[in-house]
Symmetry: C2
Subunit: 508 residues, 2 copies
């Protein structure tokens, strides 16, 4: 029974669809060059659709009706539209009004290998897997028999350099929260010189007081995003709307380098800017130690994503790693958005070329489960310190095994590198063509972004592009971020670039 959707889907993939018509329509307003799709290896995504197909503007009438209905139940101010996930395939998201969009946002970067991938549907059809879905265990006390093997096949098979330990969690935010706790525990044990808390530690912590609840801090960066629960939020500094009205901690916030792009053309200026930020980091560590709130850990994204796709060079991260080591702070790399392959390497920090890149690496989104890798010395010595009821979800590990198989089998990281180059070169061309509108094209793999002259124009362009069948997301003040699935090929980049070009032509 479970296989009927699977076969229906495969047959659907054979139906050629309306893409040529849609492209013809959108090209009517085209004033720039057309990107011609090469004979790309479509076989690997043959269950995919061939292109966008739009029937209404978005949100269409059915989406509006459902938004009104959901609005009676919860806040819907962020809802874009409602989706028909059954009909969505590969890189294409279908909405409830029958619109089919090339999805370059992929559920805030959280869909690794597209919608309804056959490998994932096949997994669901295997009766041996059903139990993992209907019996969610308390993983920290009663794990299933295959749990160590599934961790080994999935998360450990892509462990960052120097790391052999991993703890799963439910989402990105609680992964970071627990990583911070691990760093605090590690730091306090270092301060004590041993692992045994004093009676005073034990009694004061129960009433939120020092030394049991110590005045330690996490150093974060302006523009960074690490989640929205209250601990993680204290290290998030991308947009006011996330932080407004929520109590927080007096923790140090360093400037993140504001580099000029393309990076290689501004190597000297960028190196100066990075040096300035690194100096500030050291100053803050010293200042907060003097304040009596020592920095237990430094947290940073390899590319600031939500904060506007801000890049820094491998040199910056290497120096920062050394500063952390020098001052005895743990170094936490947050790969919640950058991890999973979209930069062309499985982890963005691999681009730094370091053997010992971090003490903790957190993840979620494309990994389908949250969690964090950590060095052995960051492991709390007792149980129940890094703990909660579910501690992840083994059914997500099953999916992840399949996702990683597909990534390897189809060499998706190479594909991402290739299609990312096509995408970024297209963006470079467009910013030359539309210098009054676009600037600062940048990216690694398909993890690309470009700035628009102002936020109002950015938001309008996003809506117009969506109405023409391409779904994008914004980030920072006035950037557009590109977050396709790992199945995004060169010809998908061409489809996007043609449509984007048509939209931009209206502004010329």
């Amino acid at each position: 029974m479970a296989s009927s959707l699977f076969s229906r889907q495969l047959s659907l993939s054979l139906q050629k669809n309306l893409w040529l018509g849609a492209a013809g329509k959108s090209s009517s307003s085209n004033t720039g060059c057309r990107y011609v799709s090469k004979a790309a290896p479509k076989t690997q995504v043959e269950y995919d659709y061939d292109g966008p197909s739009m029937k209404t503007s978005v949100p269409g009438p059915r989406s509006k009706e459902l938004t009104k209905q959901l609005g009676e139940i919860q806040n819907v101010a962020a809802v874009n539209f409602f989706c028909n996930y059954e009909e969505s395939r590969g890189n294409y998201l279908v909405d409830v009004d029958g619109n089919r969009m090339l999805d370059i946002y992929s559920q805030i970067s959280s869909i690794p290998i597209g919608y309804n991938h056959p490998a994932l549907l096949k997994l669901m059809a295997n009766p041996n897997n059903l139990s993992a879905f209907v019996n969610r265990p308390a993983l920290g006390i009663l794990p299933p028999e295959n749990f160590p093997d599934k961790l080994t096949e999935s998360l450990l098979s892509v462990a960052p350099s120097g790391m052999t330990r991993v703890q799963t969690m439910a989402c990105g935010s609680c992964s970071n929260e627990n990583a911070y706790k691990a760093m605090f525990i590690w730091y306090r044990n270092k301060e004590r010189g041993h692992n045994t808390p004093s009676d005073e530690d034990l009694s004061t912590c129960m009433i939120n007081k020092s030394p049991g609840c110590p005045d330690l801090s996490i150093l974060s960066f302006m523009g960074g995003f690490h989640g929205r629960t209250i601990g993680a939020l204290a290290t998030t500094h991308s947009k006011a709307i996330h932080k407004l009205d929520v109590p927080s901690f007096d923790w140090p916030i360093a400037p993140f380098p504001r580099l000029q792009y393309p990076l290689e053309e501004f190597a000297k200026e960028n190196a100066q800017e990075e040096a300035r930020c690194l100096e500030e980091v050291e100053d803050l560590i010293i200042k907060w130690r003097q304040k009596g709130k020592p920095v237990a850990g430094i947290v940073i994204e390899p590319i600031q994503a939500e904060g506007g796709d801000n890049h820094a060079t491998p040199n910056f991260f290497k120096s920062l790693r050394n500063i952390a080591r020098k001052h005895g702070c743990a170094f936490h790399v947050d790969e919640v958005q950058t991890g999973g392959g979209s930069t062309g390497k499985f982890w963005a920090h691999e681009h730094w070329g370091m053997e010992d890149p971090a003490d903790i690496v957190s993840f979620s989104k494309k990994l389908l489960t949250g969690g964090f890798y950590y060095k052995a010395e960051l492991q709390a010595e007792k149980g129940y310190r890094i703990f909660n009821t579910w501690m992840g979800d083994p059914s997500k590990n099953l999916f992840l095994v399949e996702v990683l198989n597909v990534i390897r089998r189809e060499r998706l990281l190479e594909e991402v590198t290739r299609s990312g180059k096509t995408l970024l070169n297209g963006l470079y061309e467009l910013q030359t063509q539309y210098p009054g509108i676009l600037s600062r094209a940048r990216g690694q793999g398909t993890f690309c972004a470009i700035d628009v002259c102002d936020d109002e124009t950015r938001d309008k362009i996003l809506l117009k592009t969506r109405d023409k069948g391409v779904l994008l997301g914004g980030c920072g003040d006035r950037s557009i971020r590109f977050r396709p699935t790992l199945l995004f090929k060169e010809y998908h980049a061409h489809i996007f670039l043609n449509i984007f070009n048509d939209v931009l032509a209206q502004y010329k």
Copy 2:
């Protein structure tokens, strides 16, 4: 294909098993009375096993081997044993060494209708549901078409009195974190007199400073447990091991009444104790306002669970609700562990008999998804304030619809009330029989607990009972908590009481 496990399971349920033998064995050390099972309505759980069946002590050799293997990957200090979830059924958890235990802990109270329930397996076999499992959406921006209907069929169909709005989340801890944020936002808007932040609010919040990140607080209770992420942890005060070494907030902590049981026998003493605690609550609210850290919300569990199954009377909660109203604090009832039916009502707060019991009610565990209900005025006016990538998981809502159908169809709340009475009466008998070991039996529905003379004896009793085929959990300093699934019948209580009696007899 998916249905093969289902039919195999049904056939297994027809095999009569080793329970009579196991009972015979354990009764050899029996010195007290035997609880005789009535002709209970077994048909409703006919896929269940008939009793425990033990082959090794627990953990057995295979569990020890797997624990060692997992220990190379992560902290395993809290792991009890490894489970064979495929073979587990109803109230019985089977481990990897072939031991079958009556599970009265149910994955820290998070399994609503037992293992491998046919209704849940059937749901998995429906191809229309597959897409919800393989395409996890970013619910806050791109919900699936059936999302409003599924919320209506599931969570809204059991909404607490006076509440029509609900927000799903991934787990209990982040449900509480977001509930706190909702209360802070609501409180600040009340302080402002309008919803528009000042420029100073917007700029200061980005650097964690007041007034943007205001000095507001949440009042919690000593012994309370609300999760382990850093914000939730600031309101958790059950065990030092949870809080040690983690920075926290200077928020007020009130005493929770320490009542004498049975409650009705000590009505006068208990009323005095509750009055003392309520007075302290008011003092703390005033004191923290004077300190410049006003109490935005009060958070409390209807029964303190992790903290030791501490009860309070409906009068206490009614008065507390009034104090919150009087001082302009939001009132948040945390039903993460108490919710879902095990007290004999769907929500424990229903026992208070109030039309307007709370401003926010949070849940997780047995509801299979986290989240919180809230009054309309607690809804942030903008999007992205209460937000994260996933905001729950629609596949869990599908399961919840079925769970609620089973609860209604099989009148499980009535069953829980009945079997809970049997369980509690048995505990009363046992504490009379073993006054040197047991005391303070207490409970509502099957949500019961009993105290043991000291923690060492408690822990030994838990292990001995487990080796005889009953899985229990501890809570507080020296309590045993009973957290069976909603399928726990009177005859399950009898099986437990007989085995427990045998264990206790060794201590006489």
